[in-house]
């Protein structure tokens, strides 16, 4: 049997979290105002998935990591200039909207189709990774549908840890309510993991990795297949910013004792 894993990471780009976002209505549905002008980053959860994939690949000789990314190719190319310096991977680019207002079903169909075209894909070595949610649509549903389309029924979401056991099985820690994790064991690939934050720090930039990655990234972006997501059957009645501002009462010059008393009374839990 060929050693190592084939790890396919699904991940798109999102506006830099520090940007102010504003929705705008168009005949084709809601979009972000000046979306193509916004600085973008690789989605935070997809980033974790990519770092975990690279870490796992580095520990298992013969493994390879692909990043399958659906985004406007000009923006994707910009983001890849940074991401490429982090860990080794091969990019599979799809040229389409990265908007949060697209439908998970349509996104998943495109991603699954793309994964199936990766040459020499071996299900006995296949691990499909992605973020458990995204910072755009934030639905936490795309990866499950990708898995269904690929026939992968061992799926895990909100994963913080994946450990390969001596017998080749996987032990997986998935987030559940109350700060707990469910521990599961899966006997072998294929499996699908929707990563939460994991435990790995962001890798430092490595120019050599970046140069090696970019040799493949530029052609991948150039030949990215255009795809459409019409949002069939889904209609938005409205998209708006929340009414954020509260009338904040600023309490200055009150001694700590008085503040503590006031908060205790507010909590309804004083002596």
């Amino acid at each position: 049997m060929t050693p190592g894993y084939q790890i396919v990471v699904c991940g798109s780009i999102v506006p830099d979290p520090l940007q102010t976002l504003e929705p705008q209505t168009t005949p084709a549905g809601p979009v972000l105002k000046s979306e193509m002008m916004l600085p973008m980053v690789l989605d935070p959860w997809a980033s974790h998935a990519l770092y975990e994939a690279a870490h796992l690949a580095s520990k298992n000789a013969g493994s390879k990591v692909w990043l399958v990314s659906l985004a406007p190719k000009a923006k994707l190319q910009q983001v890849m200039m940074t991401v490429a310096q982090k860990v080794p991977f091969e990019l599979f680019a799809l040229d389409g909207s990265a908007s949060g207002f697209t439908d998970a079903v349509e996104t998943a169909a495109i991603l699954a189709e793309a994964i199936q075209t990766i040459p020499a894909l071996d299900r006995s070595r296949l691990l499909v990774f992605g973020g458990w949610e995204s910072a755009s649509r934030g639905s936490g549903s795309t990866m499950q549908i990708v898995g269904e389309r690929l026939g992968i029924l061992d799926q895990f979401q909100g994963v913080d840890q994946l450990t390969v056991q001596p017998d080749g099985a996987f032990e997986i820690l998935e987030r559940m309510e109350g700060g707990k994790h469910q521990i599961s064991r899966c006997v072998a690939p294929p499996l699908l993991i929707g990563w939460a934050t994991g435990n790995l720090p962001e890798p430092k930039n490595n120019p050599q990795v970046g140069m090696a990655n970019m040799r493949g990234i530029m052609p991948a972006v150039q030949k990215a297949k255009p795809v459409k997501m019409p949002g069939e059957g889904m209609s938005f009645a409205q998209v708006s910013l929340p009414k954020q501002l509260r009338e904040t009462k600023i309490v200055k010059d009150l001694p700590p004792e008085a503040i503590a008393k006031e908060i205790a009374a507010w909590l309804g839990n004083a002596h």
Partner: protein
């Protein structure tokens, strides 16, 4: 358009339904009452369902469907998906309502795909417009809110907790219709082998708590004497959490300090993180301390009703315009005194 609503819920270890499942039941009932000619059924999944089904026997459902057995005691994607697929088919449901807990968030999107339906997760409320269902949910990590509807059915809707009060009613004897999907060995490749929980005195995440206490990076910074006091901060924060039985949240910056080699609060993990890349918990009250306000963090308390903050900076972006009251004070001093006052 008349709908057939199916409530999908899981049975807790206690043998009964969780509060969030009973909230989802209230939602299913409201839908039935709001959309003319609609009806609803209850569908439960678990090792043993009878007690939970009897708990909701008088809720007014047409049918009480269940998949039960040892294979359904714990959450597992393959078997749970098969169970719900069978239940939705048996009920011929057009709208599936379920609590947005970790089990159903994991499974139901895949089930929607199998049934050629659609799914919306993290739904915070719904309305009926012109006799049709419209749902509300947030996009871009709680930074904008949308109302939308869908033409496809079945439509799977995962409801966040806090939208409606939990259903309360008399228990009774429910006529359970058991569905027995065929479980093959290929669905048992995964087995749940345990739960990893924080040790009891380190338990800091309590979704049911009334109060969310948010600790910011200021707790680990140099204090007026020029020194950091991280062990003191830990003692104060844990003391407050224990006394108030509150839930502890933190900003990403505080969680990430460990990765940058700085002193951190030892009990914090990414699970405590709230905001853009963390949780957006729902609590009645929130008290933030030593937090610095950046938009990615402040979205973390989007769903906190009453908010107060303690910060030395009167212009703190976390608090101004976001909190009801901002106390300009030293959190070390205030929390020390507060811990002495609390029961």
């Amino acid at each position: 358009m008349a709908e057939y609503i199916l409530l999908v819920a899981d049975v807790e270890n206690s043998g009964l339904l969780s509060k969030s499942s009973l909230e989802a039941l209230s939602a299913a009932k409201r839908l039935v009452e709001s959309i003319p000619a609609s009806r609803f059924a209850v569908a439960l999944v678990g090792e043993k369902v009878e007690a939970a089904m009897d708990q909701v026997a008088t809720c007014g459902a047409d049918r009480f469907l269940a998949v039960e057995g040892a294979d359904f005691a714990q959450s597992r994607y393959g078997t749970d998906a098969l169970a719900v697929e069978a239940l939705v088919k048996a009920a011929q449901a057009t709208v599936v309502v379920a609590p947005a807990n970790s089990r159903w968030n994991r499974v139901l999107p895949g089930v929607a795909h199998r049934l050629n339906g659609r799914v919306d997760t993290h739904v915070t409320s719904f309305t009926i417009a012109g006799g049709n269902l419209e749902i509300n949910r947030w996009y871009y990590r709680q930074r904008m809110e949308a109302t939308l509807k869908r033409a496809q059915r079945p439509w799977v809707v995962l409801l966040e907790s806090g939208f409606l009060a939990a259903w309360i009613g008399a228990s009774g004897k429910a006529p359970i219709e058991k569905i027995n999907p065929a479980i093959t060995d290929s669905l048992r490749r995964t087995s749940a082998i345990g739960i990893k929980a924080p040790v009891s005195d380190q338990q800091t995440i309590r979704p049911e708590a009334e109060l969310l206490f948010v600790a910011g990076a200021g707790w680990t910074k140099k204090q007026p004497d020029g020194q950091t006091h991280v062990p003191d901060a830990e003692k104060l924060i844990l003391g407050f959490i224990r006394k108030t039985r509150s839930s502890l949240g933190s900003s990403k910056s505080l969680v990430d300090l460990g990765g940058e080699g700085q002193a951190i609060l030892s009990f914090l993990s990414h699970l405590n993180q709230i905001g853009q890349t963390g949780a957006t918990p729902r609590h009645a009250k929130g008290l933030s301390t030593c937090c610095h306000g950046e938009e990615p963090h402040t979205v973390g308390w989007r769903f906190i009703s009453e908010r107060r903050a303690i910060n030395l900076d009167p212009n703190c972006g976390w608090a101004r315009g976001k909190a009801d009251v901002l106390y300009v004070a030293d959190a070390f001093k205030v929390i020390t005194l507060l811990n002495e006052m609390l029961k």
